[in-house]
């Protein structure tokens, strides 16, 4: 438990002192540790259910507690997988000769620490600090290298992130004023009925988090930031970072939404998500640059996540569970698939020496591996079987049908078709034959293997969805023995 929080922070400080190459060796060691610790925590939760962990030995209202349950541990594991892949890829991909690249590792580790902080956080203010940790580390990663376009994207990102955080904090201030505690569990206990002021608080928090998650129409900052960053960074940002703020929003909604929400609110959030699916896919289809396509596809895929709100509000318990499982699968499969896609796109850009989609012509001759990874990741985004994306879509379809909200069925199906449109546009471009000349750069095997593994994970997720989801429904015991939690 301590290791999970300590390792990334310690490695952040350590790698700051080293240059890129040494930092790389040290970081790879750190990744191994981190993966092992995550697995151990996952195993512990599998064995005896969730527990809460009081930091510093101070229990919840006074101190900060961590909540370790099935959902949190699933995300911790997901983070370990995706971040490790991105870190490995970055080690080969980034140009070690550029002096600023040494700052990649500390920022990377801080990002990881912040993510783990969010997954495990049960304290509203602590979540705010973790979010800021993530945002600043992400902005720093985008700006790394300091070119004008990157700076511009980083600044837009920073402004959006800050505004979002403040809106969230304002909501926290109201909640603290009302309840005198920051622990989400205690607030949930004390909240008896709906009060208008608390609705304002919830709206503020959701709005702030939606801005940070880039929900339509607040998505303007995402594509430049994700499109312009180096590929491993884009993969981290799209795969994990946007999920952090969504995760908090989802937790808030699932804990407090039943009393503070209203059908009107739930449906409008869902409608925004639906609009994001359609609009993001359309824009993705129109982009001339490969990474912009992938970035706009993130906007669309994030839209699906917000269907959680209508599908869990005022519905029967099993239906709500279906929707939650579907959304969790969507988060996982999108994280894996999008990371694979960005990494593969990075390889493709390396080898065609251009960022444009139409420069891909003929590349299927010589680079089937990265292209294949890209394609497999695309299968998951399109929601075709047996990918995790399909499993998620299936569960959401079932939830929409069972809750009688059939209009989301149309969104889910249309989203798949639109995703197919922009993914096949890339395939099409790459299958075009233009002579036999092989003037492509061939990236090393290690660069090509990583996105492949991620893509295969995303693809195979659908087949093992049941065991993955079974962790979510493990019981949560509030009384935890602190000493046992030492991992």
């Amino acid at each position: 438990m301590a290791g999970l929080l300590f390792t990334p922070l310690a490695w952040a400080s350590l790698s700051l002192l080293l240059d890129f190459r040494k930092g790389r060796c040290v970081s790879w060691l750190g990744m191994v540790i981190q993966v092992l610790v995550s697995l151990a925590l996952w195993y512990a939760v599998m064995e005896r259910g969730g527990f809460s962990y009081a930091l510093g030995g101070w229990e919840a209202p006074l101190g900060i507690a961590l909540r370790v349950d099935g959902l949190a541990v699933t995300f911790v594991l997901l983070t370990a997988a995706v971040a490790t892949a991105c870190g490995l890829h970055a080690g080969f991909y980034l140009d070690a000769c550029k002096p600023w690249q040494r700052y990649f590792w500390p920022l990377f580790w801080f990002l990881w620490a912040g993510l783990n902080g969010v997954w495990l956080g049960a304290d509203l203010f602590n979540l705010y600090v973790s979010l800021e940790l993530i945002s600043l580390a992400a902005v720093g990663l985008v700006a790394l290298g300091g070119e004008a376009a990157a700076l511009r994207a980083a600044l837009r990102y920073l402004f959006a992130a800050l505004l979002g955080s403040l809106a969230y904090l304002l909501g926290v201030a109201l909640l603290y004023g009302r309840f005198g505690t920051l622990s989400l569990a205690l607030i949930d206990e004390q909240l008896a009925s709906c009060e208008p002021a608390l609705i304002v608080a919830l709206l503020l928090m959701l709005a702030g988090l939606a801005l940070k998650t880039a929900l339509f129409p607040l998505h303007g900052w995402l594509p430049p930031a994700h499109g312009i960053a180096r590929s491993p960074v884009s993969a981290l940002l799209s795969g994990l970072v946007v999920k952090a703020s969504f995760y908090i929003a989802a937790r808030l909604w699932l804990e407090l939404g039943d009393r503070l929400g209203s059908p009107w609110l739930a449906q409008s959030i869902g409608a925004l998500g639906a609009a994001a699916v359609v609009w993001g896919s359309w824009l993705a289809f129109r982009q001339p640059h490969l990474k912009q396509v992938v970035a706009y596809s993130s906007v669309a895929q994030i839209g699906y996540l917000f269907l959680l709100f209508p599908l869990t509000f005022a519905v029967a318990e099993p239906v709500s569970l279906l929707a939650q499982q579907g959304i969790t699968l969507q988060v996982i499969s999108h994280a894996l698939a999008k990371a694979a896609m960005f990494l593969a796109a990075g390889n493709l850009i390396l080898s065609i020496r251009s960022k444009r989609v139409d420069a891909l012509a003929g590349v299927s001759h010589f680079l089937p591996f990265s292209l294949f990874s890209f394609g497999l990741a695309g299968v998951s985004l399109m929601g075709l079987p047996p990918s995790g994306g399909f499993a998620a879509k299936w569960l959401l379809l079932q939830a929409s049908l069972a809750s009688g909200q059939w209009w989301w069925v149309g969104v889910l199906l249309l989203g798949g078709v639109l995703a197919a449109a922009y993914v096949f546009r890339i395939y099409r471009a790459s299958f075009l034959e233009v002579g036999d000349s092989d003037d492509f750069y061939h990236p090393p095997q290690s660069l090509e293997a990583i996105p492949m593994i991620l893509a295969l994970l995303a693809l195979g997720l659908g087949l093992v969805a049941e065991p993955v989801l079974s962790v979510l429904s493990l019981p949560f015991e509030v009384t935890a023995d602190v000493n046992e939690a030492q991992l």
């Binding site: 049908l401 078709v417 197919a420 075009l432």
Partner: protein, 498 residues
């Protein structure tokens, strides 16, 4: 894990693993690739034969595990599954041999054979799927794995056809998914069962079930090339000949037709579907597609396009047979699934041979080809005659069974459709046969190549001859045990008399 669970998995894995191995192999290792291809094809044939033997003796091959809450992945071999699995296993072997010859010295072979194997794995999965969910899984996998084959040549035209193909099939997939998800929400996880699941279902649900049926058939109809949604098929002819052979004779169109059979018999149950009044419109649609495809085929100059429209027409025989609501008609439809596969693959092999050896793509360029390529032309002629329904070839058996079935259930108009269709078949096939044998060579062949002793490369020479032999044999020996006809009768017996 017992052998009964292992065999269906193995049948899938042979081609799946072959695909993986081929993808990993470097482009230049041709010999290893050929070896892997042929070994996998032979192995699969053996496994399928074993399973067929087992199913005949009542062994239950099945394997399943839970994939999602409430949904399981399920493979199960019943008699109907083995019909389709057998067809694809046999034809995969010949198409592989043919494709090795056809693509000799062309680029991107690693990619081609990889996706080719994936395609067969999907077909096998479709055949062995034990419920609608698993069926859909492989159905979409088939869509994806055939796309790279259609656009294989990488020309503008091929890419356009590919886009068209993918729009149709993915669109169909979406409709199908909606139907399956809705059905699942209504009735839970439905394993395929010989009598269907809705015998005596709540009348309040009938409206919804009708709607779902329409969705399912519409989604499946796209791949089966049924009338309003057949547009992708003629365009997909830009693909290399082995792909056309596989797509049209085995994988894609048959997957659609097979799915329709599954839905009608094993999900809804034939009696229930009839009671809902769903079979009558289906029969009309099938009949219309039969005539429409034949009429359009007559107008085509390009040989492969003519064959494509012929496929559109022929596949609907299967659907017509199913929709006739009688055991004999069903036998005709099912046996046509197999017979048409053999005949059509022969025709495409021959068309590919003409294109590869003589550079001929158009019907009017074929004058006198019979003298230059007698064996291929004989094969073509026999297959064409079979298509028309000349006894004792394969096509005659199916048409006879279909006609008998129609009369037995009192659907006389279907017999008229069959006769009309045969006339039309003759009208677009016989001129080709005439040109092959009786017209003198008008002009030098556009792109002639020579291979030693045989009229064409050995890889290309033998497959059509073997399939021709098969189509003669299945017609002649239709009454013996283990012929496709008796197997189809076995299926129908099990379906109607569970």
């Amino acid at each position: 894990m017992t052998a009964t669970a292992l065999l269906p998995l193995l049948a899938l894995l042979t081609s799946l693993l072959a695909a993986v191995v081929i993808f990993v192999l470097p482009e230049s290792s041709h010999r290893v690739r050929i070896l892997v291809n042929l070994m996998a094809a032979l192995l699969k044939l053996v496994i399928v034969a074993l399973m067929t033997w087992g199913v005949f003796h009542g062994v239950d091959f099945s394997v399943s595990f839970t994939m999602l809450p409430g949904v399981s992945f399920m493979l199960r071999a019943d008699a109907l599954a083995m019909l389709f699995a057998g067809l694809s296993a046999v034809l995969w072997l010949f198409t592989t041999i043919y494709a090795i010859g056809y693509l000799e010295d062309s680029p991107n072979r690693s990619r081609f054979f990889g996706f080719f194997s994936l395609c067969v794995a999907s077909t096998m999965g479709i055949a062995l799927a034990g419920n609608m969910f698993t069926f859909f899984l492989f159905y979409e996998m088939l869509t994806l794995s055939t796309y790279p084959l259609v656009v294989h040549r990488g020309t503008e035209k091929a890419l356009r056809a590919g886009r068209n193909y993918i729009s149709y099939t993915l669109g169909g997939g979406v409709v199908l998914l909606l139907g399956i998800a809705w059905l699942h929400g209504l009735a839970g996880d439905l394993a395929f069962r010989e009598t269907g699941h809705f015998q005596g279902a709540d009348p309040a649900l009938h409206g919804q079930l009708t709607l779902i049926f329409i969705l399912l058939i519409a989604g499946l109809g796209v791949k089966a090339g049924m009338f309003p949604v057949h547009g992708w098929l003629p365009q997909a002819m830009v693909a290399p000949a082995p792909v056309s052979a596989l797509l049209h004779a085995v994988a894609v169109v048959k997957a659609g037709a097979f799915g329709i059979v599954r839905v009608v018999y094993d999900v809804y149950g034939i009696d229930f579907a009839f009671m809902l009044g769903l079979l009558q419109p289906l029969a009309w649609l099938a009949a219309f597609t039969i005539l429409y495809g034949s009429v359009r085929a007559m107008a085509q100059i390009d040989l492969k396009r003519r064959l494509a429209f012929s496929t559109i027409s022929q596949v609907s025989y299967i659907i017509l047979g199913v929709a006739l609501f009688g055991p004999i008609g069903t036998v005709g439809g099912l046996v046509h699934l197999l017979h048409q596969g053999i005949m059509k693959i022969t025709l495409f092999f021959c068309a590919g041979n003409y294109a590869e050896t003589l550079g001929v793509h158009r019907v009017d360029e074929l004058d006198g080809a019979g003298a230059r390529m007698p064996a291929t032309s004989t094969a073509f002629t026999l297959a064409a005659l079979g298509m028309i329904g000349v006894p004792p070839l394969a096509g005659f058996v199916t048409k006879w069974m279909l006609g008998t079935g129609a009369l037995a259930t009192g659907v006389e108009w279907a017999v008229v459709v069959l006769l009309l269709s045969s006339l039309l078949n003759a009208a677009y096939f016989l001129p080709i046969v005439y040109r092959l044998w009786f017209c003198p060579v008008a002009a030098p062949w556009p792109g002639e190549r020579r291979w030693g002793r045989l009229e064409t490369s050995a890889w290309l020479f033998w497959p059509p001859l073997i399939t021709t032999l098969m189509l003669v044999l299945v017609g002649l020996l239709a009454a013996t045990a283990f012929s496709p006809l008796s197997w189809a009768q076995l299926i129908v017996v099990r379906m109607y008399l569970p």
